[in-house]
Symmetry: C2
Subunit: 203 residues, 2 copies
């Protein structure tokens, strides 16, 4: 979490700092990102940066969580739109994500995150779907899901289902970037795997 000082900043300055961070974190992955670049772009001193953030990671995860939170809202929206059909919702969400990403800066930001996924990054991505970003997130999601469509018998199974789906969705998303798949290929692969999950793998 950024320090209080960061939130006390005048809106304009805070936005310009956020922008500078987004630029740097889009350029290279976390471990190569340099604070020197950020403060130069934002036009502040090095010391100031450390008034706002504990360290580089603090800043990075702040930006990443902002992104994730926006995406999480989209996913919940899709769940509403598709009347709690988990598969429909995640497919629509995945589709949106790919089609909507042509903004180069955002694209590279994700790319850098995904090529260098730490556990923490993966956790945040999974929270887009699992909705743990805010308190009571998981409940919000499980309430929305229409269980009649699922082959499950308990709450615990529902949790596992969500885990499985977010694991597979995430992995597909990573592969889109690492194997440089076209949108078309990525979506086909995603749908194929979702269908396998639906129908079951064993005879």
């Amino acid at each position: 979490m950024p320090k209080a000082t960061f939130f006390n900043l005048p809106e304009k300055k805070r936005q310009s700092l956020i922008k500078a961070m987004e630029i740097e974190f889009s350029r290279v992955p976390l471990y190569e990102a340099s604070i020197a670049n950020i403060v130069k772009t934002a036009g502040i001193s090095r010391g100031s940066f450390y008034q706002y953030f504990r360290d580089k990671e603090d800043a990075y995860y702040y930006i990443l969580k902002e992104q994730a939170s926006r995406r999480n809202k989209q996913f919940i929206q899709q769940l509403h739109t598709h009347q709690g059909d988990l598969f429909e919702a995640i497919t629509a969400f995945y589709y949106d994500l790919l089609i909507e990403l042509p903004d180069e800066k955002e694209y590279n930001f994700f790319r850098n995150a995904l090529l260098n996924v730490t556990h923490q990054i993966e956790t945040i991505f999974n929270e887009i779907i699992e909705s743990n970003l805010k308190k009571d997130g998981m409940e919000e999601i499980t309430k929305l899901i229409n269980r009649d469509l699922l082959n499950i018998e308990s709450d615990s199974e529902l949790t596992h289902v969500i885990h499985i789906i977010s694991a597979v969705a995430f992995r597909n998303f990573v592969e889109k970037f690492t194997k440089e798949l076209s949108d078309q290929e990525a979506i086909e692969s995603f749908i194929a795997e979702m269908n396998l999950l639906k129908k079951g793998i064993a005879k």
Copy 2:
């Protein structure tokens, strides 16, 4: 890949260097590992290290691949033992992995890898199951799998099945470490998810 110089090293020296790297990479994750520590432990000069490896990552992935290759052999062994039953084999493999890991150094090595999974690390882990470590790896695996037990209609579906299973297995393995689950909990969660994969998630 390490440079030729590394493989020209007398066995004893090479082993002691490998051991020094294992110690350091067990202590902390890749990005915190220090070459100064490695060369001190191994009793060689800093310059020598760079005669053997292009850089720190080169060294790290060499060690990681060695580990993965050993695990891959175990998985293939399990496929044999269970007559090509993919689910039986992966469950036995997972079980072995957890039960067998109490060697503290190896445990920490995995832990550091899994808490800081880059795409490359995940790829190598998945190759344990997908057997791409050596050429023709994928074929070796697909031949071994008994397709009669699976609800699939094509080679392409089999590939997706393997992807899905390795994604879910990997994710379970990561959670074992990050959520500090007991062996018991980890295995229960793993089996629950494998069962869901088997029977299918949709009604």
